[in-house]
């Protein structure tokens, strides 16, 4: 069992958009993740704590929180990497309304993916043969580089432009749109480029790269957005926007 010297001082946001940090002592363990810490608080210290997780292995994207000021996926974040002098300050993600404690309302975040035309628009039906796409073709590679998004919202919470302009579609939705712009089977690019252009879309991005810096999947939404900027300019100059 852990003694007092190996206790963590964990302060956790309690409440909704209005609320306060509450301090909890949590025993320090080896190979402990931030999600383990939050789970300990909920199971042992205060069962009313609300938070979200599912897979615990970095697949589902539901466990993101702000840990010592930085948005992270908590299930894959080791306490040893982020605790400062045995202290953790755990808050909900930024840029989304807080429902309760560490749970945020992600409805707008996902609605923006839909607004950015993030759904695949097929050009063939199921009677058609398989589309043959060379794995090393430039478009396939560009789609590949951006495809592994788990929808965790870490990038969105880290983007100041979302804070300043709440209509801004944000890095995840635009990154998703870019994968489809590069999907040879997709037929929705005209509408998609119109949806992602302008001051609520890719042109609002200042290339700060906070999204790239923080994305736990090491994706580069900034680069995807730069691709959309080029694609929309090309469309505008050729009368397709």
């Amino acid at each position: 069992m852990a003694d007092m010297a190996s206790m963590l001082d964990v302060s956790v946001w309690r409440g909704a958009d209005e609320g306060r940090f509450v301090s909890y002592p949590v025993p320090r363990r080896e190979n402990q993740t931030v999600l383990d810490v939050v789970t300990y608080v909920q199971r042992r210290l205060d069962a009313t704590l609300a938070y979200r997780f599912s897979c615990r292995v970095g697949m589902c994207g539901s466990c993101a929180m702000t840990v010592n000021g930085v948005a992270r996926w908590t299930c894959r974040t080791h306490v040893g990497r982020v605790a400062r002098d045995g202290r953790l300050r755990i808050a909900p993600l930024r840029n989304m309304p807080v429902i309760k404690d560490l749970s945020v309302d992600m409805a707008e975040f996902f609605a923006k993916a839909a607004r950015a035309k993030g759904a695949f628009r097929p050009t063939a039906d199921r009677t058609a043969d398989f589309a043959v796409i060379a794995p090393d073709s430039p478009r396939r590679r560009r789609a590949d580089a951006a495809i592994e998004c788990i929808g965790c919202g870490v990038c969105y919470a880290s983007c100041d432009v979302v804070t300043w302009n709440p209509d801004y579609l944000g890095p995840a939705a635009l990154n998703r749109a870019w994968t489809l712009v590069n999907d040879e089977r997709d037929g929705g690019n005209r509408e998609r480029l119109a949806a992602v252009a302008g001051d609520a879309g890719c042109h609002a991005c200042h290339s700060h790269q906070s999204c790239m810096e923080r994305c736990p999947k090491h994706l580069n939404p900034t680069e995807s957005i730069a691709g959309l900027k080029r694609a929309t300019v090309l469309a505008a100059l050729t009368g397709k926007l």
Binding site: V161, W164, N165, L193, A194, A195, G198, H203, L241
Partner: protein, 116 residues
Amino acid sequence: MSARAETLLWLAQRVSAMVLAVVVAVPIGTIIYAVQGGLSAQEIIGRVQGNTGWLAFYGVFVAAVAVHGPIGLRTILREMTPVPARLIDVAAAAFAVLLAWTGWQAAYGLYGFGGA
């Protein structure tokens, strides 16, 4: 504003930035070269007065600033203030006209200084 208009404004700001990157460097280089051995108002006027190449250069410089600055100002005002978008567009356009007018006037004034 339409997606197309926003996209073209974005493009105009990048293109004008590329122009600025060049036209900002040239005067700085010239200043460093020209100040060696001191500099006087006479000397400057002697160099630019009636110099059509110089006038054309600053004509382009002013045009690039008048395009680049107001678009950037528009972005900042939209992001940082609650001022209505329409009003910001009008203010940015007015600022562009002001920059172009005063800039070209200054360049033309130096070009024709003393003479004309």
